[in-house]
C-alpha cells in the first residue's frame, strides 16, 4: 500500500471545515486529482444530504400542548402570567385559515455605488416556522437593534415579537393575522435614508417554508398588485372585498383551494376566458372542454426523463447548445432568489452559481470546505459574501434576497456550447459557455401533447391549487421582475405544470383570476410553446 497523503479522517474533517487552513487547502488540492478521495467525499456528502432530506418534520401539536401545560404549571407557582396564544401556533394559524398573506417590506438602502456596506438590508422574506409565519430581515452588518426595532412599522398594525439571531431580525406576529390581509412592513436599518426598495412576498399557508417573491420593480405603477402593496391601499385590487368567499387578494389565485364556494359561479366565466379572446391561435377548441384530453399526469417535478423533452420543445436552445457531452448528473442544491437574480449552490461541487439578470453567469469557487448550507440560511455568507462585498455593484444589482436558501434537487448536463441545469421543482437554467444564460420552466412531461392543449391545461392548472406547481403562487402576480418581452413570464411559469386531474373544477379557480383581473386572464393563455420561454439573464 502506498502511503496516501490524505487520510480518510482528514476527508471527513475537511467536509466539516474542521481542518486548519493549511490542511484544508492540502486536501482541496489533493482531491482535484485523486478520484478515490473525491468519491469518498462525494459519498459522505450524499449520505449527509440523504439524512438532511428528512430533517424538517412537523412537530405534533401534542408536543406543544404538553410543553405548554408544563410551562403553565411551573408558572402558576410564581406569577400567573404568560401562556400567550403563541403556544399553540399551529392551531391558532389553522383557525384563521391563512390563505395568502402578503407582506411588503419597504426596505431602505442597498449598498450604494460608493461600495460602502453600511448597515443595510441584505434579505427579507417570510419564513414558515413550524406553522407560524415569521418575517426575517437580515442586515448586512451590525445594526443598533433598538433603533431598528423602533423603526419597525407594520401596517395595518399587528402585535409582534422581535428577536435577534446575530444580525438577523426575526419578526413574529403575536396575534393572528387576517387571512386576507395585506401587511406592509418597513424597517430602517440606518439613519441615512436611501431610496426605498419595496419588496413584496407572497406566502401560502399550505406551503410551509416556500415563500415566493412577489417582486415589485421600483416603478411598479403598471402592476396593480405591486401598486397596491406600495400604497398600502387596496384600491386597485378591489378584488378583496368583491370576490366571493375568502379569495381576498388577487394573488389568492394560487391558493384558490381554500374557497370551494366560488366554483359554481365561476364556471361560465372561466370557459369564456381563456384563449379565444386573447390568443386566437392558442386553443380555440380545447378551451371548451373543461378537461382537455391531455392525460394530465400529476407530474412530480423530476427531469429524470431527461432534458430531451425540454430541448425538443425549444429547438433554438438545442441548436445553440449543440450535442450533449456527458450524462445527466444529479446532486442536491440550495437556491436563493433575489430581486434580480439568483444564487444556486451545488452540494457536489461546492460551487455557487451567480445568475444576475442582464449579466453573464458566473461560478463562484468555494473557498474552503463544501459548506453545509442549511435550509433557511442565506447563500450570501462566508466566502461568497466576501467576494461580493468586493464587488458592490454586483451585490447591489442582485438586490435584496427574497427567499432564504431553499433546498432543491438539481440535475446538470453539459453540452458542446454550454450546459443545462435543472433545479427542482421546475426551473431549467441554460448556461452558455459564452456566458449568457436563460431561465426556462420545466414541466412538460411528454412532448406529445399539442401546444394548444398544453396551453389550456396550463391555464387551468394555474388556477388550481392542487396542481403540483410550486410556481403556482407566482402565477397570478402581475409584477414580474424580469424585464422580458414574453407576454407574462410569471404566468407561464406555473402554466406548464400539469393540472391535477382530481381537481373538481379547474374552471372555478380560473374565474377568480379573471373576475377582477381581466389583464391577468389574458396572460394566462398565450403560451407560445409547450415549454415556457420565461427567459432571464444576459442576451445569448
Amino acid at each position: 500500500v502506498t502511503p496516501h497523503p490524505v487520510s480518510p479522517l482528514e476527508l471527513s474533517a475537511y467536509r466539516d471545515s474542521a481542518l486548519d487552513e493549511f490542511r484544508q487547502q492540502m486536501v482541496e488540492s489533493h482531491i482535484a486529482f485523486c478520484s478515490a478521495c473525491r468519491d469518498r467525499l462525494a459519498e459522505y456528502a450524499w449520505l449527509g444530504s440523504s439524512l438532511r432530506s428528512t430533517a424538517n418534520v412537523p412537530v405534533p401539536a401534542a408536543v406543544d400542548e404538553r410543553v405548554a401545560a408544563s410551562f403553565e404549571a411551573a408558572n402558576r407557582s410564581r406569577a400567573r402570567t404568560l401562556i400567550p396564544r403563541l403556544w399553540l401556533p399551529r392551531q391558532a394559524w389553522a383557525a384563521v385559515a391563512i390563505a395568502v398573506l402578503l407582506v411588503a417590506a419597504l426596505l431602505i438602502g442597498l449598498p450604494g455605488g460608493d461600495g460602502s456596506f453600511g448597515p443595510t438590508v441584505a434579505s427579507a422574506y417570510l419564513f414558515d416556522d413550524q406553522g407560524t409565519p415569521t418575517i426575517r430581515v437580515q442586515f448586512s452588518g451590525e445594526v443598533d437593534r433598538e433603533t431598528v426595532a423602533e423603526s419597525l412599522r407594520i401596517e395595518p398594525s399587528v402585535r409582534v415579537d422581535i428577536s435577534w439571531n446575530g444580525s438577523e431580525m426575526v419578526v413574529r406576529p403575536s396575534e393572528p393575522l387576517h387571512p386576507s390581509g395585506q401587511y406592509t412592513l418597513s424597517v430602517n436599518p440606518a439613519s441615512r435614508q436611501r431610496a426605498a426598495t419595496p419588496v413584496a412576498l407572497q406566502f401560502t399557508g399550505d406551503r410551509p417554508g416556500t415563500p415566493v417573491p412577489l417582486q415589485a420593480k421600483p416603478a411598479p405603477s403598471s402592476t396593480p398588485l405591486a401598486a397596491a402593496v406600495a400604497t398600502e391601499t387596496p384600491a386597485p385590487t378591489a378584488t378583496a372585498t368583491e370576490t366571493p368567499a375568502a379569495t381576498a387578494t388577487p394573488t389568492a389565485t394560487g391558493t384558490a383551494t381554500v374557497t370551494p364556494t366560488a366554483t359554481e359561479t365561476a364556471m361560465p366565466t372561466a370557459t369564456a376566458t381563456p384563449s379565444p379572446s386573447s390568443t386566437p391561435e392558442a386553443t380555440p377548441t380545447a378551451t371548451a372542454t373543461p378537461r382537455p384530453a391531455v392525460s394530465p399526469t400529476p407530474v412530480e417535478p423530476q427531469p429524470w426523463d431527461g432534458f430531451g423533452s425540454f430541448l425538443s420543445a425549444v429547438p433554438d436552445v438545442a441548436s445553440k447548445l449543440g450535442k450533449a457531452k456527458g450524462r445527466e448528473e444529479a446532486t442536491d442544491a440550495m437556491v436563493q432568489r433575489f430581486q434580480r437574480g439568483l444564487l444556486v449552490w451545488r452540494e457536489d461541487t461546492g460551487a455557487t452559481l451567480l445568475l444576475l439578470e442582464g449579466a453573464e453567469w458566473r461560478s463562484l469557487p468555494s473557498t474552503g470546505a463544501p459548506a453545509t448550507v442549511e435550509p433557511g440560511d442565506s447563500l450570501l455568507a462566508g466566502s461568497i459574501s466576501r467576494l461580493l462585498e468586493r464587488n458592490p455593484a454586483i451585490r447591489s444589482s442582485l438586490g435584496i434576497a427574497t427567499t432564504p436558501a431553499l433546498p432543491a434537487r438539481s440535475v446538470a448536463q453539459s453540452y458542446q456550447h454550454g450546459s443545462l441545469l435543472w433545479i427542482s421543482p421546475d426551473t431549467i437554467l441554460v448556461l452558455y459557455n459564452r456566458g449568457s444564460w436563460e431561465q426556462h420552466v420545466d414541466g412538460v412531461e411528454q412532448p406529445e401533447p399539442t401546444p394548444q392543449v398544453t396551453a389550456t391545461a396550463a391555464a387551468l392548472s394555474t388556477a388550481t391549487v392542487t396542481a403540483p406547481a410550486t410556481a403556482t403562487p407566482t402565477a397570478p402576480v402581475p409584477a414580474d421582475p424580469t424585464p422580458i418581452e414574453t407576454p407574462s413570464p410569471s404566468v407561464t411559469e406555473s402554466a406548464h405544470r400539469m393540472p391535477d386531474p382530481s381537481t373538481p373544477t379547474p374552471a372555478a379557480t380560473a374565474t377568480q383570476v379573471e373576475g377582477e383581473n381581466p389583464v391577468a386572464t389574458a396572460t394566462l393563455t398565450p403560451v407560445p410553446t409547450p415549454v415556457s420561454e420565461t427567459t432571464t439573464g444576459g442576451s445569448s
Binding site: 482535484a32 440523504s50 404568560l82 412530480e300 461541487t349 473557498t367
Partner: protein
C-alpha cells in the same frame, strides 16, 4: 446561578427558545428514537428539563447546543434503559411524511420515493446511539464539530474522530444493507468537476471583475 437571566417569572425567554428550537429538537429526537411516540415523549421531557434548568442556561449563542445536549442525553438515557441497540427496520419515514404533511414538491417527498435514502435511514438506525446523535447534529442541523463535541463530551479531536467513524459506519451499514452509492452523485460528476469540463467549469477568479 446567573442572576442576570432572572426576571419576574424566572422563565424569561424560555418560550421564545422553545418556539425557535422545537422543530430541530423534535427532528433530532425523532431520528434518534425512530418512533413518533418516543419522539413526542422525549421532546417534551427535554424541554421540561430545560425549563427546570432555565436559570442555569448558557448565553444565547450557546443555547442551541445546550438544548441539543439535554435532548441527546434524554435519548441516550432512554435507549440505555431499554438496552435497545438494534432496531426494527426503519419504516418510520413512510409514516412521518404523510402526504398531507408534505407539500407535493417538497424535497422530503422526493426523497421518500428514493429507496436509497430510505436505506440510509435504515443504516442510520443501526449505528450506535452516540454515533447517530453526532451525525444527525452535524449533517442535519449543522452543529459544528466543536458543538457536537460539547454535546457528547468530546474534545475537538475526539469529535472529529467520532464523526469520521460514524460516517464510515454509516457507509458500511448502508452498503451492507445492499445500498449502493447513487450513480448520479460521486464518481462522474466529481471527475468532470476535476478536469474542468463540468457544468461549473467557468470558475471565476476571486477578484472577479464587475460585469455590469
Amino acid at each position: 446561578m446567573d442572576g442576570t437571566h432572572r426576571d419576574d417569572n424566572g422563565y424569561a425567554g424560555f418560550e421564545k427558545a422553545y418556539i425557535a428550537y422545537r422543530g430541530v429538537i423534535y427532528g433530532h429526537v425523532l431520528k434518534m428514537m425512530g418512533s413518533e411516540a418516543d419522539a413526542e415523549d422525549l421532546t417534551v421531557t427535554a424541554f421540561e428539563k430545560a425549563m427546570r434548568a432555565w436559570e442555569r442556561r448558557p448565553p444565547e449563542d450557546e443555547l442551541r447546543p445546550w438544548l441539543f445536549r439535554i435532548a441527546t442525553n434524554a435519548c441516550l438515557d432512554e435507549l440505555r434503559r431499554r438496552q435497545r441497540i438494534q432496531w426494527r427496520p426503519w419504516d418510520l419515514f413512510a409514516g412521518v411524511f404523510h402526504p398531507s404533511q408534505v407539500a407535493p414538491d417538497s424535497p422530503e417527498r422526493e426523497v421518500l420515493r428514493n429507496e436509497r435514502a430510505d436505506l440510509v435511514h435504515e443504516a442510520l438506525a443501526r449505528l450506535a446511539p452516540r454515533d447517530r446523535a453526532g451525525l444527525i447534529m452535524r449533517e442535519c442541523y449543522g452543529l459544528s464539530n466543536e458543538e457536537v463535541g460539547k454535546v457528547l463530551n468530546l474534545s475537538r479531536d475526539g469529535a472529529k474522530m467520532m464523526l469520521f467513524r460514524a460516517r464510515e459506519r454509516l457507509r458500511a451499514a448502508y452498503l451492507q444493507l445492499g445500498g449502493e452509492p447513487p450513480a448520479d452523485t460521486g464518481r462522474r460528476s466529481s471527475r468532470r468537476q476535476a478536469n474542468g469540463r463540468g457544468a461549473f467549469s467557468r470558475e471565476v477568479d476571486p477578484a472577479m471583475g464587475d460585469s455590469q
